[in-house]
């Protein structure tokens, strides 16, 4: 697993009480996360990964799964 994915998974595991979240699981649809998570996720991506989340990036498709977050971050790097 690459470093970025590890970081993302670590962040999510701190926030969600679930053991086997698959990288493609839609966390929002499956109700694993509540909405405060959206706030923290944006802060995590901006301040710990160093990628600015622009207005146009605020789309669930960028945040719904581990893979989606990773893809979004890679597209900004």
């Amino acid at each position: 697993m690459n470093e970025l994915k590890k970081k993302i998974k670590l962040f999510i595991s701190e926030k969600i009480d679930i053991t086997n979240l698959a990288d493609t699981d839609d966390m929002f649809k499956q109700g694993f996360v509540n909405s405060l998570f959206a706030m923290e996720l944006v802060m995590f991506v901006e301040n710990e990964i160093g990628v600015k989340v622009e207005n146009k990036d605020l789309m669930l498709d960028n945040f719904r799964s581990v893979c989606a977050i990773e893809k979004f971050i890679m597209s900004k790097k």
Binding site: S35, L36, M39, E40, M43, F44, N47, N55, L58, L60
Partner: protein, 370 residues
């Protein structure tokens, strides 16, 4: 933590003591802000303290912003709230607004030409903000039609721009609505227990046409993270305001207890009174430390800042209810009489329990981090 007193804070303290404090009791009694004070405030530049310098603001850091709220909390809850709401809305526009929105509104908000209101709560939905019903319907390519009711909105009576959270097909959205928009009806709400100068209002939006370019942040993200970015700052401001209120009440109570005599002793020298004053002082210190802690998390842009701000707001708003109640108690009958600042702060303190999230909402949110 050592805090450096800077020139802006010194200037603000003097402004607060000389220009705001003399009006505090009038504002409470008349439920209004004197025009003269509003003009002074606008001229002072203290309305848009968090707005970046490039837009004419003071661009304070979060610790200094907290200390400023503490100063103003010491004298007047209404003016603290005015600065709080103005900066909540400014922070949202600065973070999630586009360049056009920023360059149009932030300079006006910094100069006070535009007073802002934050419109989330509705008659049927307070704590349950996620379920608000005000609706935005797309019309054509470039407009929305806004319908719905907002209630308990601070400064609705004087605001020039309303930041409204409403529901579109895609989910909740945040949109800037100019007060002059056709179809807006504002009914003043008066006679609140405390924070009585906040010029509250109920707002009805009747088929208001709003340009789609006024949308702040993407469709569907209006509450989280957009509006919550402002609520975070609102809670932080309130927490510091509570510290300021408690400081004044402790100060007045110490002085009073050293002049008032009963049983041939200054009441300060009765052991049970010492205990009350000690508890007031220690609770206050603890709240102030939580505020400083939250401020440094905000300043470091830590994702845990959200949780730290919640703790500070929860604790400080409980602390201020305790401290103001003890202050009233120590003053005997004279603490229960209008005109005594501790009586006003006691009423204002009760408001802090409900606004920007009630005790129970704080408990529920903080428990997520346990």
């Amino acid at each position: 933590m050592s805090i450096k007193e800077n020139d802006i804070l010194k200037k603000f303290r003097s402004f607060s003591e000389n220009k705001i404090a003399p009006h505090a009791s009038y504002i409470d009694e008349k439920q209004n802000i004197p025009e003269e004070l509003l003009t002074d405030l606008k001229k002072s530049g203290f309305l848009g303290v968090l707005i970046p310098k490039e837009f004419g603001g003071l661009e304070l850091n979060y610790i200094d912003y907290g200390l400023l709220n503490e100063e103003i909390g010491k004298v007047c809850t209404t003016i603290r709230s005015l600065i709080t709401v103005q900066n909540m809305v400014a922070v949202i526009i600065n973070r999630y607004g586009d360049n056009l929105q920023k360059s149009k509104w932030l300079p006006k908000m910094a100069s006070g030409e535009a007073i802002a209101a934050f419109c989330l709560t509705e008659p049927g939905f307070g704590s349950d903000a996620k379920n608000i019903q005000s609706g935005l319907q797309a019309e054509g390519k470039d407009k929305f039609i806004l319908n719905g009711n907002k209630k308990w909105i601070s400064f609705a009576q004087i605001a020039d721009i309303l930041l409204v959270i409403a529901r579109a097909e895609e989910g909740l959205c945040c949109i800037i609505v100019e007060k002059k928009t056709v179809g807006i009806e504002i009914t003043p709400i008066n006679d609140m227990l405390g924070a009585r100068g906040c010029l509250l209002g109920e707002i009805r939006f009747n088929n208001c046409k709003i340009p789609q370019s006024h949308l702040v942040g993407n469709l569907g993200f209006g509450l989280f993270p957009v509006a919550f970015t402002g609520l975070d700052i609102g809670r932080y401001s309130i927490a510091w305001g509570c510290v300021g209120m408690a400081e004044t009440c402790l100060d007045i109570s110490k002085k009073y207890s050293k002049t008032r005599k009963q049983f041939d002793l200054q009441i300060f020298n009765h052991q049970l009174v010492k205990r009350i004053l000690t508890d007031m002082a220690v609770e206050l210190k603890a709240a102030r430390l939580l505020c400083l802690n939250a401020g440094s998390f905000l300043e470091n842009k830590s994702r845990d800042s959200f949780a730290e701000v919640l703790s500070a707001k929860y604790f400080a708003s409980k602390m201020v209810r305790f401290v103001t109640a003890r202050a009233v108690e120590l003053h005997g009958a004279s603490g229960l009489k209008k005109g005594n600042p501790v009586e006003r702060f006691f009423r204002d303190a009760k408001i802090m329990q409900t606004i920007e999230g009630s005790d129970q909402m704080m408990q529920l949110m903080i428990s997520r981090y346990l």
